[in-house]
């Protein structure tokens, strides 16, 4: 096989994977966001009489943030148990992450997908790279801990810095309903600007907000990381054999989870996939020219 052919095959696989993920992005929109909000409607039909059944179906009825902050507030657990949509955030997503990694983040989440997929039209030279200068995992869990602690100081701030709401406003505007923008608060404006511009379109990979400030991603990755060695845990993994430390995986990783150390000798080379940052998008698995990146159980 010609050398160019060995390189072309992963490029095609990567392109195909990204197309699948763009498809999943649209499925996420249809499932969670008005005017469709199919998931909300299904939950409402399955659990008549609950809050989710009696509300306007949009992304707020499957709030993924408030229930996460309620985990540390036991007096709010009855509210959580009384609404099946809230249990989705604190049970279904972490359990899915324990089994197969944080697939929701890498595939279904429309807010994260928007900045990643649209961000590809922005040239890389205009973007900043989160990878390298600062440790991402401590920052991510630090913001997460701050969000969990805030209610004990004064009030819950997860709504103030929610990027799902601006996304819903965009969807509403697409159907001719601009009322969301009329009641837009300063916190939503800051959130929208930070999410879309410095931590979105102008961050390499387009996943700056997801990697640093999203509590849903932090909880999913925490669940995924602490259970990564369980025998049934399917994760993105790297195997030393065959790896040439070419750096392709590091370069294309959207959340900047892969670190490659290059060297002239095999002993000097290393590739590390951070389980605290990886969102299981599988781009690195498809882009790897030697098959050293895999998605599977621990060997």
């Amino acid at each position: 096989m010609l050398h160019s052919e060995t390189l072309r095959a992963p490029a095609t696989a990567l392109r195909r994977n990204r197309l699948w993920r763009i498809g999943a992005f649209f499925i996420g929109l249809v499932l969670f966001y008005a005017p469709f909000a199919l998931f909300v409607r299904l939950l409402g039909a399955a659990f008549p009489g609950t809050t989710v059944a009696n509300s306007v179906p949009d992304v707020h009825q499957v709030c993924l943030r408030m229930p996460i902050t309620w985990i540390v507030q036991p007096w709010l657990w009855p509210t959580m148990v009384g609404n099946p949509a809230y249990l989705f955030a604190i049970l279904v997503l972490p359990i899915a992450a324990i089994i197969a990694g944080p697939l929701f983040c890498g595939w279904l989440c429309p807010a994260g997908g928007l900045t990643e997929h649209v961000g590809r039209v922005v040239p890389d030279r205009w973007k900043w790279d989160l990878h390298g200068p600062v440790p991402l995992a401590p920052l991510r869990y630090g913001f997460f801990a701050g969000m969990l602690l805030a209610p004990f100081v004064t009030s819950n701030i997860c709504c103030s810095f929610c990027n799902f709401t601006p996304m819903q406003y965009f969807m509403n505007a697409g159907t001719g309903d601009f009322r969301g923008f009329m009641y837009w608060s300063s916190t939503y404006m800051v959130t929208m600007v930070v999410w879309l511009i410095p931590l979105g379109l102008f961050t390499k990979g387009g996943r700056g907000w997801c990697t640093l400030l999203c509590p849903v991603g932090a909880l999913s990755n925490l669940s995924s990381a602490v259970t990564g060695r369980l025998p049934f845990a399917v994760r993105v993994r790297h195997k030393e054999s065959g790896c040439k430390a070419c750096g392709k995986c590091e370069d294309i990783c959207p959340p900047r989870a892969v670190t490659v150390r290059k060297g002239t000798e095999a002993e000097q080379q290393s590739v590390v996939v951070s389980p605290h940052i990886c969102n299981a998008c599988l781009d690195c698995v498809k882009a790897c020219p030697t098959g050293a990146m895999t998605y599977g159980r621990p060997s």
Partner: protein
């Protein structure tokens, strides 16, 4: 990148403090209007935290580049 415990605590604590500061700002705000969601002041801690983060990243990158240049210069001299 490999992170030692001290750096992790420093960065993690700093990041957590941004959100806690956002909550505290509401508590100590002298206006008392309870319109935090529409108040520019209530987002100041987050803005300040993110600006700090940006500064740290730019400084980190500049430091890394300087170290690489120094190392290259040393290797050249050797």
């Amino acid at each position: 990148m490999k992170v030692d415990g001290r750096s992790a605590a420093l960065f993690g604590g700093g990041a957590g403090a941004v959100f806690v500061a956002a909550a505290v700002a509401r508590f100590v705000c002298p206006a008392g209007c309870q319109s935090c969601e529409t108040c520019v002041a209530s987002v100041a801690p987050m803005g300040a935290g993110l600006l700090t983060l940006g500064g740290v990243m730019v400084a980190g990158r500049a430091g890394r580049r300087r170290r690489a240049d120094d190392e290259a210069q040393r290797n050249g001299e050797d």
